[in-house]
């Protein structure tokens, strides 16, 4: 399973502009981090996804995006997995 996860994370990180990704479980425990991302952020990413779920509990899980001028963090929860993708933004 770990090999498969690592392969998926590598594929994500190889996408244009992506420089890191973190995968965490429903408790916020880190399943893996790839590229320029630390394992410590997995808890916060899960907490953000949990918080967003409270916004409209009956709707499907939204995509959360945090941006500044240079970087973007995209968070998507799918089942028990939460994925955080770090991207650089070209202006």
């Amino acid at each position: 399973m770990e090999k498969h996860l690592n392969r998926v994370m590598e594929e994500i990180t190889n996408q244009p502009g992506v420089y890191g990704c973190v995968l965490s479980d429903h408790q916020g425990l880190c399943l893996g981090a790839h590229g320029q991302a630390s394992t410590e952020s997995s808890g916060v990413i899960t907490a953000l996804a949990e918080q967003a779920l409270k916004l409209e509990p009956k709707s499907v899980m939204p995509i959360i995006s945090l941006e500044n001028d240079n970087r973007q963090l995209i968070i998507r929860r799918h089942g028990v997995l939460t994925c955080g993708i770090y991207k650089s933004v070209c202006n």
Binding site: S38, S65, N68
Partner: protein, 95 residues
Amino acid sequence: MDRKSNQTGYLVLNEEGAVLSSSGELENDEKTANVIMGMINLTSQIDSVAFPPEEGFKKLSIVYDDHCYIVCLSNKKVHIVKKSIDNTDSIPVTA
């Protein structure tokens, strides 16, 4: 603020999360205000390796299939806009 395209509601909060003004679907929506303030408070703890803390964030978006919430901080106030997403808008017109 009411006249922005596709906007269905807005909220303006102070730094403590109290509602200063609101309109449309978000009129006096303290629940949404509390949830979004909770998210903003979490953003300060995000990965310091991938996101240097001195850069901070400018915009938070929460995107559903047919609508979204856009949040930004300006003049010590939190502005939250709820917009409907018209998918036909994304098709570029090449006439």
